[in-house]
Symmetry: D3
Subunit: 318 residues, 6 copies
């Protein structure tokens, strides 16, 4: 099947795609006519698509997050490709496609990612740090199987959050070896906990954030994770004002580095400094890598990336 990323003007396309948006609209002719304004997607990208003259039956048939088979023509509209749909039908079980074939995902199986996180947690030597980290993982373990790390900045896809944590754990392991004055338990704990409350901050399905939750807006994932550390301490019979709790909360609270980026305190332990810059390095490079992957091969430049001050990336060929 042709990947959306490779569509060119004039292509006649037949294939299975995911319906990402499906809105009924009316033309402004007299009398007005109903048409469908779709966004179709596969793992390589997405494209707007129009079904003119939608029938009353169509109206009751097509909804977001459904798989469809379409035949259509790729045209340019305001310098962007869009598809004019000639035929469309729902995908059936016999077609043999699964929804997850069509969405963007981390390149490693979610189960393997979550496993790596849990094994790393189990390897934390200090039993109190370990217990608190495991308590927090349990709060989101199932959602770690599919949550993205963010709405759009970086790792914004299926299991992106778990993938981000795992790559950071690799980098953290290297940095802790290169600089033995860093406490390895805290590097691990900080990496696992820093974004652990993101699934509580955002609502997401199939790796796509639809919006922020009420708690997400009023508390934010940073303070939510701080709350969980207190809950964990109390559940485990630890004094919530013990130095270890302070140190763990500090890692989470300070990991955005500056107040204007959401951290109420700035990094003031060696591991907190390390955590922020490991997080930054991984997020920026992943965003760059993903942008290059999803830019058509014919383009020398990716679109501007918000995460690097809205600059595009140049792809060298040689």
């Amino acid at each position: 099947m042709t990947l959306i990323k490779t569509f060119a003007e004039g292509d006649e396309v037949v294939g299975f795609y995911l319906v990402k948006k499906a809105e009924m609209k009316q033309t402004n002719t007299t009398p007005p006519k109903d048409y469908f304004d779709f966004v179709l997607a596969d793992s390589s990208g997405e494209i707007p698509a129009k079904l003119w003259d939608a029938s009353a039956v169509d109206k009751e048939t097509y909804f977001p997050m459904m798989l469809v088979k379409v035949r259509g023509l790729v045209q340019m509209y305001r310098d962007k490709p869009q598809m004019r749909i000639n035929r469309i039908r729902k995908s059936t079980e016999e077609d043999g496609y699964a929804l997850t074939d069509f969405i963007r995902s981390a390149p490693i199986q979610p189960a393997d990612l979550v496993n790596m996180i849990k094994q790393t947690a189990a390897g934390i030597q200090d039993s109190e740090y370990r217990s608190i980290v495991e308590f927090c993982i349990r709060k989101v373990e199932d959602r770690l199987m599919h949550y993205p790390a963010a709405k759009g900045m970086h790792h914004a896809y299926f299991a992106g959050l778990a993938y981000h944590i795992c790559r950071m754990l690799e980098l953290g392991e290297f940095v802790a070896k290169q600089r033995p004055f860093l406490n390895r338990d805290l590097i691990k704990a900080g990496i696992i906990l820093h974004d652990i409350a993101k699934p509580e901050e955002m609502n997401a399905e199939y790796g796509i954030v639809t919006d922020y939750s009420m708690k997400g807006k009023l508390i934010g994932h940073i303070s939510l994770a701080a709350n969980w550390i207190i809950e964990a301490a109390i559940a485990l019979g630890l004094d919530p004002s013990h130095e270890k709790i302070v140190i763990l909360q500090h890692l989470v609270l300070s990991h955005h580095n500056l107040g204007e980026w959401g951290s109420p305190v700035q990094p003031q332990t060696p591991e907190a400094v390390a955590l922020h810059y490991i997080d930054t390095l991984d997020a920026k490079l992943q965003a760059v890598e993903d942008a290059i992957d999803s830019t058509p091969d014919s383009e020398d430049w990716t679109p501007p990336l918000r995460i690097i001050e809205n600059k595009p990336i140049y792809r060298m060929r040689t």
Copy 2:
């Protein structure tokens, strides 16, 4: 006794004062001689004072936060008054002075302030809000009797924190009456809780902050108060993710308004918006009032005040 605020060049002064600082130093003569570099204070202000030729006995006699009787001469040094001490002795019980006579304090008795806070808490109608507020007050009740509200910006004196809360409660009461769409319970709860963890953030004695605590630097009073709300919820058998907990935490977390001022989230409930601006109005006006009070009558302008962008205040006479 002459108030320090009224000292003029050439005055011969006799009186009781508080030793705020007492450092032994040496002159750079040969041979060097010991002398005492004091800061003396009363409730109206403070003044540097030198005791030249300090004896070995003196060295073991004078320490900070002690009351002394001095006789000395007021001189100008780099455009600022300073005292040359001619005679000094420790104050004795017979002199009849108490340390609290010499430190700057809120104009209302601490016990009355704490009482007003507790009664306001008791008047919160929603029993869950009330219980959480009372739980947090219990954590700091004794320290509320004397803690300042800040290190230097505003209300930086004995019982300044409790005084700040009480004046805000008066203002909050007025605003809630003027705008009935505001929830009065939340206005009260927000005002009492917003700075409740300051005594955990700073170390203070006699209304003077000596430094920030480890927890104060790594967590900050905003997140510490958020922690206490979680502790209170668990202690009271409430679900820590209940909407009421979210709403209370939001009030505390957002009360500095912007990220660069330390708030991880911005005010997004009516009461959170009200809380921030009530806090601001009270802090700024109190700082202005206190600056005018402690500026010598001969001056038209106070010193620059950090809390209002480092501007001085002009005192109109007419």
Copy 3:
């Protein structure tokens, strides 16, 4: 009559509404057809509306700020409700509606507001402050009956400016009582004068600002009010460089607090500090209250409000 705020998809609506915008457009069919692109409004909100196939007579009939009776259908277009008009006619006198029934207004009669302002001015004890304030009120008295306080930030409705002044006077009265070191005459004078030149800065009708005037752009309401104080002084035979004139001008000039918000000097008298924060508290809380009022009951969140750093407000139900 159904309020616009309560319209839901699919509603068949009949009622009287205000035409806020009325533009003739053409479809891009061949041949193109004329249609009317309206915005209809009542005191609860507004909605776009289309009259397809507008006749030549229609073209000469419907204009902005006219009342009409319409029958139409509420539809969704790009996630927002819009009305398809089936029938429309001009409202006649017999229908018994007045334009002011359909525009958003302060909740208190304009005449009562202006009266309160004039009585407060009359109560200023210093005769020179009083005369200057009354001179300035006379410049805009008739426009105070209907001008909004701003184009969109806050109090952007009929008599919003007078309402803003009156609520501030109530709050100023409380603050001046709570802190007797403040000069009550100056609090009153500052509140009345601070925005007094807004009607000269903006052009407005029916409480809606259409644009800024030439003077508004080149001088601004702050310096215009400063001009009026000089004019008043000269007219009253006072020396324009007298300290009282300086103090009054300072209140007006500094009330936006910072240079980047339009104030050429920063507040440096106690009353100037008070004025800025009273203004801020009233403007923010009114904007929050109005946003909640005009948000459909079905929504938990208001739209983002520019006046509070573009944050939305959460409406708690319990």
Copy 4:
């Protein structure tokens, strides 16, 4: 006489200098001794100087802004030259020196500068602009003979303000010729009026600003000049809201360009844009020229200049 700018370590100096500061201090020896802490100056620069063992008579003899003859030794103290005074006496009339020989001044006679300004004003063709400009000049004509343009940023010397205006008039004349779409009357009027109220904003003697006046702090020279334009209009029988008054006030109000630099409105007429950048060009280049002039020839770099973001200037030799 040796210029202060050329003093080198170890020089034995005899000459006449101006006493810029003269403070009595005491050593911290036992018993303490009185000594004089002077700042001596001539037109090339200034130097700290100590008179150890000042007698009781000395105390009553030396005051700021007095001319003295001294004999002394140039020493280094904390990397800066300072003079140890061995002999000192007051200058007498027979010595034949005038105070103005010792202070830094504009390179053109003040009377000539003021004359040029008045002739330029007389050459403004529009009689209303001309009358207003002349009205404002009359307010400060005598102070234009000696006032500096600023406290320290640029043109901070005797008649510096008049000199700044005159150089700007030359530059303005060129720009208006190069770009005939600019109104030459307004260019002249704007240049003369833009800083005309500086003598009311600051207190200065002998070209040195001692401090800002009460009006200077509470109103500022920008709004003070705006006031004078209103006064002029009324005195001349012009309507203070006439377009010409608006245009003149706009020139003055906007000449600092940005709110954070003190302008309540931004330049929005061609002449206002020109005025700001002519002012900027002249102030920066004069500050650079003066810094090079007063830097010892042995130095490659001037000290950092606040007016150009605290950068020093490199002096190329070739």
Copy 5:
């Protein structure tokens, strides 16, 4: 022929215009029809234009940067004028129009501008500065005949870059005369070199920048010009670390003044300070002059200009 700047609603227009954009689109009727979405331009401005019912032949006939003769009707669409084309044909040689008649250009012939730049370069007295400047001019001499100075901020038209340099040379000549401490060779060299690499940074045709080049984005015109100075030095047998090379590079590198405006170092020689402010004065005033020129006479205000903080300019009539 009627200038586009003077088109009014309802005008029937016949004339020759330049096709600036030409996009084939389809109506959303059933069946969809092809139409042409044009932008037509002349030297006074531009206007969108629609050709409904474009034929298959039309599709292959009209392309950007072609001259056409049209007959059409001026209509309003969303408050902006647009043309409905009734007849259209390609311009032929017999019509006698050249493309350059239709594009915005500097008011002086490009050849004269380039000549003035070359003669000024030839007049630089220091032979090393002269040779380097001439080396760099040779790199872009042909492109100086038509390149604009920027994409949109200022001098964005045919030969705008050469025009900008020439006006700056006039102003630089005046400033260097007014302030003889400035090195005239360096003023000339700095003005000619400061933007000399712009043609390498941007791609432009007919005075219109289409986009930035790869080098423009990755290196920028400032560092590109610095590169050329090194190339010139080596080609001329000069040591690339000679003080003169440093001084020339400094002029170019610092001419944007601040890091956030693209300069890696800030001006630290007298000529570098002069260069930045001469550049600023010329760019801002030209932008203001051009905005007034291209604003319809009926308008009192130009559109907002990005180059002066997005403010519009008021055009005084008197």
Copy 6:
């Protein structure tokens, strides 16, 4: 020998130390007496020291960067330790100490560091990148043996620059392996070149920067390195506008990320993004590690570190 870092009040100390500063001063007694104001240092830190009653011979004996043997007493002065020297003599060869024993250095031998850098360069596979990198290394090879990486922010010690490069090369190697889409040659080249011109920007001896050079201030190390790349290209017969030259220059020019941090362009290739964040991670963590190393064991907090927004670091004991 006792390390300076471990000095406590009252210690009687005998040992060898490095004279870092040595200034002759005079007491302000009558007659004034000469004394020596020293700063003594060893590899663990530094301390001010006074030699009262310095003899005429002493004056000619002690100079900066000399080794001395002292006997002295540690006292507190303004809360900081300082030494009163009782005996002092120059160190002789027999004492057996070398200057490099007393200065702070990278923990790896400079020769090994430079070797690693050269071997990495030799391992770059693309011969053009390799030749340019080797050309630039040759420019500074001898200075790489001892230059610090900065004046004070990070790696401010003997061979700190080479050490910084080597640790970055290790980290870069890991990151390039973790993310194979990165070009390893460019990662290596970028790391070696990014600060390669620092020895041209600053003057340094024994790992201590004394000041910035003329070139350093007027051009800066970023543009100096860009110059060297052009020189290298020309020397190697490559076209200075070849894409590879652009890519290498881009790495260097963009490595400070933002304009306000000195980069004229922002990172826009994958390797440029990686380079900036690898640089940041290494610099921050090294600064933290060094601060902990040089903080006395008795302290829980390091001093504030400019490199992490002036925050101190907390040292956890457990």
